[in-house]
Amino acid sequence: MPNSVDPVISAEKVGKHYGHFRVLQDCSFEVKNSEVVVICGPSGSGKSTLIKCLNGLEGFDEGRIVVDGVSVGDPQVNLTKLRSRVGMVFQQFELFPHLTVEGNVMLAQRRVLGRSTAEARERARMLLDRVGLLEHSAKYPKMLSGGQQQRVAIARGLAMDPKVMLFDEPTSALDPEMIGEVLDVMVNLAKAGMTMVCVTHEMGFARHVGSKVLFMDQGRIVETGAPESFFKNTQSERAQRFLKNILHPMGI
């Protein structure tokens, strides 16, 4: 069993390629307990691929990823068990449209963790209350706004009592007005001590609760640092240009 000082996630020299095209190269980083690691970078830099490697949604060709003491790339490993301890939130929410909000949060609790319906419902309602959506429990996802759907998706992940939550651009598909409500939930989660890995361009979030920022470009982690130093004292020219573009898109 991993002990509490071991990193929750450690990636060593992870590489992935499609034919000659290298999607990921030499990616190494660690996520310790209760850390919030923000991954940013231009589109096509491999951020989403990297985060999907962490729970085995994507395979990789080189290196090693250990999550909660389990080697993800090992073909012998039972990935379904590991995945149930790693929550994931997607850009497009991906709620199950044929299930109610409550049903979405209950499904994997019952099927994977073997909780009873009553137990699963109680946990679901507790979490829906926590993300401010208890009154919408009986609705279907399509009846909710994007921000509400994403909060349900977060509750769905939390219902598995995960060791770590992965966020893959959780606010990129939202109307600007709804970004705040989702970030609020994420900030509260971070403050409550959840270990998180977030692919996001919300630099305010990174500055506010981030423990570490990874900047990626062309499949490599180009720069790693604490948020203050990353924003104030950006090392690479590529990251400087990226920050300038997203913080001041009109050049002013």
């Binding site: 995945r83 790693v86 044929h98 299930l99 994977v112």
Partner: protein, 233 residues
């Protein structure tokens, strides 16, 4: 030749002989649709299995069954196979032919519907720790069912009428019994009109069932449809 006879028309409209023929048509349809659906599910699973040779076998099956007329398939099963020593009852031949043929079409409908559920839904199910089987049963199939229901419904509607082909191998369903009466009484038009009315009643009743099924599996999607309609207006 006589002109149209109303008395004969009404006599046969409620004839137990024809009603029993219609009943045969109904159970032929139901049983071959269910068998076809099960076999179609197996064929669809085989075609999406990722196992090379199994996919080829399934592809060959669909190609063969969709590329030849059902009437020919029925005649081969009924009169061809005995030549090499394989002999079935008429009922078995009819069900076998209908189900094997239907399975090929249904497998394509099932495959299309399963593939219409996006990779994002699969990823979400996988990320929650659901096994492949659980993801298929709890996440993919319920959504695929909604997509395939209208097509399945049309397919059953078609099948109701297609069962009439089994009259060619002397299966005593509605058309065969109608023909038998015509050979006796020569009331061609009256009897075919009665038979048509029976078929219409059966396909209309099926439409009601189909609507109910589509509504039942459309839960969670109606609101979306309503919103889209409102936007178009």
């Amino acid at each position: 030749m006589t002109v149209w006879s109303w008395s004969a028309f009404f006599e046969y409209l409620f004839s137990p002989f024809l009603l029993y023929g219609a009943w045969t048509t109904i159970w032929l349809t139901v049983v071959s649709a269910l068998l076809g659906l099960m076999l179609g599910g197996v064929v669809a699973a085989a075609r999406m299995s990722g196992i090379g040779w199994l996919e080829k076998v399934a592809f060959f099956y669909v190609w063969l069954m969709r590329g030849t007329p059902l009437l020919v398939q029925l005649v081969i099963i009924y009169t061809g196979l005995p030549q090499i020593g394989i002999k079935f009852e008429v009922v078995t031949c009819a069900l076998l032919g209908l189900a094997l043929n239907e399975a090929a079409y249904l497998s394509e409908i099932i495959r299309g519907a399963v593939q219409s559920v996006g990779i994002g839904q699969r990823n979400a199910a996988t990320a929650l720790g659901l096994t492949k089987f659980q993801a298929m049963r709890d996440v993919i199939l319920p959504q695929a069912t909604r997509v395939m229901l209208p097509m399945l419904g049309n397919s059953v509607n078609g099948l109701l009428k297609t069962t009439s082909l089994t009259s060619a191998i002397s299966m005593e369903e509605l058309l065969r019994r109608t023909n038998l009466l015509i050979q006796e009484r020569f009331l061609t038009l009256e009897l075919f009109v009665v038979a048509s009315i029976y078929y219409l009643v059966m396909t209309s009743a099926w439409s009601l069932v189909q609507n109910w099924l589509e509504h039942r599996f459309g839960r969670g999607f109606e609101e979306e449809a309503r919103l889209e309609n409102a936007e178009q207006r």
